[in-house]
Symmetry: D2
Subunit: 358 residues, 4 copies
């Protein structure tokens, strides 16, 4: 009897259940009643606390289209792992101990960047691990695409579409804040797909003057409205020169709930034009996965099952050149796949006349 | 030759173009080349400033599905009309004067509550007016339904659906702020359709303790998450007792951008539980109208054309008992169709176990 | 302990689960652990065969957005009830007998026209029945609206929207066949909402010449394309004069799978123009209910629970004048709410220039 | 002054307007008022007949989200080119002649496989051509992805989702016929994303016995329903052995409008189980492009503009390894990118337990 543990960690996203289903269905196809799957509750926390349940085959039916994760998830353990102090060593011990108590043959881990650091740590500690890259940010190193990304792009684009009709009707300037603290793939793609006039990314710090100039040029050209797609993590060129500590201090003093509100106030002051702000927030990561993500999640899932079958551990399944390949966790952990400021998508957007505020 | 002026005023919503198309197509069907339609730019502002253009038949093609308004809109004239001072008298004069200059036979006005006050004023001043009730708030007196409402409910419900999957996965409490400053039909309907656990409306002031109790009961019952659908205009029972002036002062001191953030902070303080806030904002009024609104807008539009044909002026077209009927503008102006706290939808929600925080 | 049986019968539609949830949650709110709900499997068949299960409270969680019915459904018993022969008498006996064996206090029945005939029969036989009107056809007598209808309109309208872009690009004539065998509310509403040029309904038999004339006029006016929204049950004026038997015979000889293909062939012969046919079929009744239907289903559900609480049996919950009211089953059974050819929606469509082919 | 002609040919799909906009906006950004763009009407037909118009900058505004093609399209010229007889030589002459009369510097062509054959022919005849790969079939040689594909997958998946809820509720077997005459990428992706139990592709001929066996196994396993995603061009292993002529003859004798109906009848005969058929048809290629397609279309469009800028003609823009690259038309023309029966997506589906009926 094979015993496989599975957990989802970090912020949830679309396609998690589709991927879980892919792993499970492929394992049952391969091993039939010779495999038992254990769902570990709420991510690493469940592994630390020994909270899990034996899954039944029917638990994985009908979840292809379901948003979120049937296993639950949590974020804290990620933070915990960043600084490995005494206490965390104990937590790693607890995880290893529970892995043994559960008599698992391997551990399947679905998560983003933080999750993969811990997955690598567990792998280095000797646990047989296979992981899958999930995140709406598409910022996991080693894979061309994560699942969740295109579903979130679809939602953020739909918000931009809706804002378009109201902006045109009223002749207004709108800022739509799109998820992406450190990495801007989501605002970049949604900004292009949603026809934004200005896109601000964490990777391309902006100058206020440049944004103002773009808005003025559009006014002069008789364009009644402008739409700015702004990453949560957008920052000015001045801010980009600050040390991490100084930056944090500056932002802590900011009296607005997010950069979009602060930026709106600055633009209003410069131009006298009223700016509206929309912050769709968490709903970008919820709901049913788009078809693209369902296929990708399924492919990742069945590929992960194949790695388990081959006892090929210590890898993340990744999309490279259109194929699913294993990538060593040690290559993935601790790296971030950011938007190269001169990448093709950015150049295409610039060719179209979209400003990046730089 | 008949000459018909048409304008859209106030915040835009879904179905405006569908209604405009309904009026225009029905007029052309009735009168063919014997009618000229003049599009007045940006609402009453265009009438005041004499900004308009002669429309062509093809201008009304392909706009059934289009969000926003092809005529543009503005909000200021509404504010202006609230207190009729010297200056506003001049503006009314300007509107009457431009109406004459344009040699119009009548004026078609699409708008919400503010718009209808002005429409009634113009009607009382002798202009032949026909109006259509648009607003996502469904708060226009005299009609069972306004167009825009069900499209906005659909969008807000979709936000709640997406928040549901992330709330379940993380075991979190979420506040979703839904449009509705004075009237809560939109948060009420979206709250029921989106499976909210708590719905807060302007018409039913809340007690913080009551909300906290509901959340604690859900915790005890093992429910991992809770979702609050909160109207922009939600207010506490204490605030409900303040005078208008005191209320404004209290809100001006509030250090949060909206009631949802303030409420989240209060609940966090009381329960120690983290609360997430999502504010979808203006995108609730944008995008393509849902099928329901397209049919309703079309019916309102053709009914308005019929009133023009019959020279039956001074009315708003309204839905009553499932039929489109004319309602005198004098009956509509200045009234607000609020949510009766004991109405059937509220009772149905209570029967279901939804709390209104009272 | 109260014991409530619940079943869904006839073709499924959107909102069934939302309505089931409404009934159940309201019953649990009223009676807590003092009520047991029994889910009867696959409609009346389950009642005949004694196939049911005791439901748990959690069975009704998370189903608000779910298409179909968690109880299963079947159609045969409806046919069976049409002619009550010896065998059917036995089946009614079996239902009554199982009702007793299950020690039910009452029976909640969700269904359309056929279902309500049987519900009335059971009521006349002495069973305490409460029913809810479901169907995408909106043809249940006694209620202004059934749940499922607006969700189906939304889907059919979306099909028409998509066909529009391809029809415009290619300059083609398209027939979209929309569900509705005997009653045309769905093709009527979808036709208006989807901007059809011709709408054919069972209630308004068409003349081929009239359709051809409309298409030729559009050609002359330089309109590159035309879209016909055709009810499954559309029929020509000649066919309308046939006896039921003659009509069946004529249709049996028709070499096309549905009226749309036959009509396309006839129009092609007359005009020489190629006609494309699209038959979306059953997918019009599937998927998640729209917000409108979720609210209506919920209101019907809680109102049905209230009737059970009051032991007010023998009724269907219905929407009348915007309120939910009980209507005696005897008034509902055996009647069909068809589209009156001179109803307001038809007139509005005609005012817009839409042809009904008559 | 640069003069650029642009045409769309073959069946329309989502993203055509987004791509046209990408080309145009990038050309205007590069050359400003130094470039004139000529829209050629209805594909190659417009080039043959000399039907075109000078476009204005505003013609390309607001079309990012619009389905279809603002230039119109036609299919006949493709057929015409298959056998180059005397008449066609004249048509090629006409195209070259009109190209000269229009004083064009180059020709931008958006289309699928047939279109690219002609594009290559024109290129070989000396016309400066740049082309873009559009099609919902994703079967253009030389590019990993065509625009239109993922939008169509999204629609077909949504149909499968809706059919799922009705199939589950009724315990039925459904066939959903998905576009794809010669190539099965669309039914393959939609089948995986929509949770189909059986997928039939033109590239993997089926055995009836195998399908029947799968259905029987599902019945035995207590699964109440089954869904078959069947390509328009699905064929049996027997048919696969026929010559082209024999195959055509066999299909001509088939008394059903499409393979799905014929297959349904065969399965019904073998199993006694009723099978329902749904044929969504052309609506799979209509409506607004999904976000993925908008970004891809835009990237293709700006890359095509860059090739024009560099006077790098005779190429199609293609996606390879995630980058947009030029591929010589001579390499693309006449080839079809079919589904390799052992490709990763097929293997992933098999791992999941999906049957391909072989």
């Amino acid at each position: 009897m094979k015993r496989v543990g599975i957990l989802t960690s970090g912020g949830d996203c679309q396609g998690l259940n589709a991927a879980i289903r892919g792993v499970a269905k492929a394992l049952y196809e391969k091993w039939g009643s010779e495999v038992d799957i254990y769902g570990i509750q709420d991510g690493y926390r469940g592994l630390i606390e020994g909270s899990y349940r034996r899954m039944k085959q029917e638990d994985f039916s009908g979840i292809l289209t379901l948003g979120g994760t049937i296993l639950g998830t949590s974020r804290q353990p990620f933070k915990m792992m960043r600084v490995i102090g005494e206490d965390n060593v104990d937590k790693v011990k607890a995880m290893k101990s529970n892995f043994k108590k559960m008599k698992l043959d391997c551990l399947v881990i679905l998560g983003g960047n933080g999750t993969h650091k811990t997955a690598n740590l567990l792998s280095e500690e000797g646990l047989p691990v296979v992981s899958l890259p999930k995140t709406i940010d598409n910022d996991v190193w080693g894979t061309e695409m994560t699942f969740g990304f295109h579903s979130a792009v679809e939602i953020a684009t739909n918000v931009l579409d809706c804002i378009h009709t109201t902006a045109t009707s009223h002749g207004r300037v709108f800022i739509v804040e799109i998820m992406g603290h450190k990495v801007g793939w989501l605002p970049l793609y949604a900004g292009i797909a949603g026809g934004a006039d200005v896109i601000l990314l964490p990777e391309i710090p902006y100058k206020l003057e440049s944004i103002v100039k773009t808005l003025e040029q559009r006014n002069k050209a008789g364009k009644r409205f402008s739409i700015l797609a702004v990453a949560e993590g957008a920052l000015s060129q001045k801010e980009a020169k600050l040390s991490k500590k100084e930056f944090k201090a500056a932002r802590a003093e900011m009296k607005y709930p997010s950069i979009s509100y602060a930026l709106a106030a600055e633009i209003e002051e410069k131009t006298g034009q009223e700016i509206r702000v929309t912050v769709p927030g968490h709903f970008q990561r919820g709901g049913s996965p788009c078809a693209y993500d369902r296929v990708l999640s399924t492919r990742f899932g069945t590929a992960a099952a194949q790695l388990i079958y081959e006892q090929n551990y210590g890898n993340m399944v990744a999309l490279q050149g259109g194929s699913i390949v294993p990538v060593p966790l040690s290559e993935v952990a601790g790296k971030l796949k950011t938007v190269p400021p001169a990448c093709e998508e950015v150049r295409s957007a610039r060719d179209l006349g979209i400003s990046f505020g730089d």
